[in-house]
């Protein structure tokens, strides 16, 4: 009995393919009849006018019908386990070779970006943006990838960090280098505060509460006008200084002191190396923590919480430290964001940001540092790459993500490196590694 469906799928007749294509076309017809078939617009006097586009609808349904047949035929050609066979073994072995070189190569390239693209402001800005998300991804990776706690409200800590720096700097006049650790500490404090009520929750419930927490922080920022300026945000946030030396055109600026001509690019390059240093610090600390008992306890918590308790591990403090560590890095990134922008408002800290950072972590392969960096590059950089496609950008991007997850269901880097070994340091296939249930 168990073999029956396999046999039919192995040799599907023309009737089977046509039937499947017909069903797909029908579904498309129902979906597209409203989305494409009828076009509505507000008329000149505000009334609703609409007209039909049945020609376009027919084209789309035909495309789905034809595409479905092509996909079925391709599937037959590749055999039942098509997704693995798409990449031939020779390519896979060379990929494994490249994988070992990719991290150092990427790091060296990143260091050289401001040198190579010195006069291309756009690329430098994009680099800073990508590195910010790399750092956020690495921070969230502690919570989601290592401890297995699904956090949908990570942007809250980003916001706490950004507002901590913005308010401390504009109200008390503290410098960036004093505020940076303070922003981290405050974000970690909020991480613990969030951690307490959600300790007993698991999986979906945890995700919903963290999502709510992210929204609460944003709504508090919007409504606490006297402190945060509400929807108007905080303006005039001081730019960072190189340990007290401002990067300004004045006489006491860095350019004047070094005796070189002032250029606004200096500040961009400085910001680039600043976020690079912060991201590398995050990476270094996370790699160190993974090899310490606390990091192993996080991973053990992701694997099996009940077994952790039986081994005498305090799961409460272990979860709280994971939340606090992740939140602290989010706070650092937030402080950097505030100083880079010079202006922050609640609009920068919507759920969209949380979802984007979570997507980076999941796409990268949960728990993998290199994977998160690659995913951030692909998500943020790739999104910019498709800029020329205008309104189809989201569509192309979505399709690319779906294909990537079919090809690599466990993320770009689909294995886990052990934290300690006796003889062989061999990677563990992520089929064995649990995602954690909160």
């Amino acid at each position: 009995m168990a073999l029956a469906p396999e046999q039919t799928s192995r040799a599907p007749g023309i009737a089977f393919i046509l039937k499947k294509a017909l069903i797909s076309a029908l579904v498309a017809l129902v979906l597209f009849s409203l989305m494409i078939g009828i076009r509505t617009e507000a008329g000149p006097t505000g009334q609703l006018i609409y007209w039909t586009r049945f020609g376009d609808l027919a084209v789309m349904v035909a495309a789905v019908f034809g595409g479905s047949i092509v996909v079925e035929l391709l599937r037959q050609w590749w055999g039942p386990v098509g997704t693995i066979r798409v990449v031939p073994p020779s390519v896979q072995s060379s990929l494994a070779m490249a994988r070992r070189l990719i991290a150092p190569a990427l790091l060296i390239f990143t260091f050289l970006v401001p040198v190579i693209f010195y006069d291309q402001r756009y690329i430098l800005d994009l680099g800073i943006l990508v590195l910010t998300y790399v750092m956020l991804g690495w921070g969230l990776n502690v919570v989601v990838g290592l401890a297995g706690l699904l956090d949908l409200g990570y942007v809250a800590f980003y916001a706490v960090g950004a507002y901590s720096y913005a308010l401390l700097a504009t109200n008390l006049g503290l410098s960036f280098w004093v505020c940076l650790p303070l922003a981290g500490i405050l974000a970690a404090f909020w991480g613990v505060l969030l951690g307490f009520p959600v300790l007993r929750l698991r999986g979906d419930y945890l995700a919903i509460v963290t999502l709510a927490f992210g929204e609460i922080i944003r709504l508090v920022i919007i409504n606490w006008q006297s402190l945060t300026g509400g929807p108007n945000g905080v303006t005039g946030i001081p730019r960072p200084t190189l340990f007290g030396i401002p990067l300004s055109p004045g006489d006491d600026g860095l350019a004047a002191r070094l005796g070189i001509e002032f250029s606004p690019t200096h500040r961009i390059v400085f910001l680039f190396y600043l976020i690079l240093a912060l991201a590398l610090l995050t990476n270094w600390v996370t790699i160190r923590l993974r090899r310490l008992p606390i990091g192993r306890a996080w991973e053990a918590l992701r694997e099996d919480e009940v077994a952790c308790r039986a081994l005498g591990i305090n799961t409460t403090t272990t979860k709280l430290t994971a939340f606090a560590t992740g939140a602290m890095f989010g706070g650092f990134a937030g402080a950097f964001f505030a100083t880079r922008q010079g202006f922050i408002s609640p609009e920068s800290f919507t759920f969209q940001e949380s979802a984007l950072v979570l997507a980076i972590v999941v796409l990268g392969g949960m728990g993998s540092q290199l994977g998160v960096a690659l995913a951030a590059l692909a998500m943020i950089g790739g999104f910019e790459l498709f800029r020329g496609l205008d309104q189809y950008r989201m569509l192309v991007f979505g399709v690319a993500m779906v294909l990537l997850m079919i090809w690599r269901p466990r993320g770009l880097i689909g294995h886990r490196a052990p934290t300690v070994f006796l003889r062989h340091n061999q990677a563990i296939s992520s089929d064995l590694v649990k995602e954690g249930r909160g």
Binding site: P293, A307, R309, A310, L311, G312, S429, V433
Partner: protein, 275 residues
């Protein structure tokens, strides 16, 4: 010989169902005590009470340490039983960390000792020498236990990739890495073949003999129970029906009746057990 664990009047109710009713027994120091009974007799419930996973409805559980000090297990909960009372346990359905290597599993078991050594992460983060030596000791202890359970060759393999019998032994090794005073094993021989369960009996006897660890075990495999236990407690419907040496239990008509009522084969196994 003194008792390491004294259970008195233990009762556990789930709503209207009485899983364990007024159970009293003692486990002796450096002995192997077996808890047997038909399916649904309440054995695992007793275990969950002792190891803090359930809070008993009534009763006391006293754990006497080597120095004579006592720990009241019913007052501790959760992870504190393992941390403070030094009671370790294994699970009926194996609960390893499948995505971590065998060695990592044993390192996680030494969490509390390593946390202290790493100065609650701060000393470890800066790579203090004191932490490094503590970690080397931890690896040595893990290596020792991997060797004892015959898994040294597979130390760097993912625990989830090990064969079933190896996973059972690794779970015992992991529990022993917490350096417990009392080791609670929930059906350690379940799913093992005859050769593997003979090796398991040998391992448990050596743990009792060499480490001096007291063992409390739940087991269905009567050959293992009769061979290694010093003392057997029989439960049926949450009530103790017999308590004594393996020989006494084997001849007890009440035990035979309980097993006959539950399962004929098991009753035969009890009567012929060990022969």
């Amino acid at each position: 010989m003194s008792d390491i664990l004294t259970v008195e009047g233990l009762t556990m109710r789930f709503g209207g169902i009485v899983a364990v009713n007024d159970l009293s027994f003692a486990a002796q120091r450096q002995k192997i005590t077996a808890l047997i009974g038909p399916n649904g007799a309440g054995k695992t419930t007793v275990f969950n009470c002792i190891t803090g996973f359930y809070k008993p409805t009534a009763g006391t559980m006293r754990l006497t340490h080597d120095g004579g000090s006592e720990t009241r297990l019913e007052r501790l909960n959760d992870f504190r039983i393992s941390k403070l009372a030094r009671v370790a346990r294994t699970f009926q359905n194996i609960r390893l960390f499948p995505g971590m290597t065998a060695l990592e599993n044993l390192m996680v078991a030494q969490h509390n000792a390593l946390m202290r050594a790493s100065g609650f992460t701060l000393l470890g983060l800066i790579g203090a020498p004191s932490y490094r030596s503590a970690e080397r000791h931890a690896i040595d202890l893990a290596r020792f236990w991997l060797d004892r359970v015959g898994l040294l060759e597979r130390a760097d393999d993912a625990a989830g990739n090990l064969p079933y019998g190896d996973q059972r032994r690794l779970e015992i090794a992991r529990a022993m890495c917490t350096e417990p005073a009392l080791l609670c094993l929930d059906e350690p021989a379940a799913g093992l073949n005859a050769r593997e369960s003979a090796a398991l009996s040998e391992l448990l006897l050596s743990i009792r003999g060499e480490q001096g660890t007291s063992i409390l075990l739940i087991e269905h495999d009567m050959s293992v129970v009769m061979e290694i236990s010093d003392h057997v407690v029989v439960l049926d419907y949450g009530v103790k029906i017999a308590d004594g040496s393996p020989q006494q239990i084997r001849d007890d008509p009440k035990v035979i009746a309980a097993y006959l009522g539950a399962d004929e084969e098991e009753a035969l196994a009890v009567m012929e057990g060990g022969t």
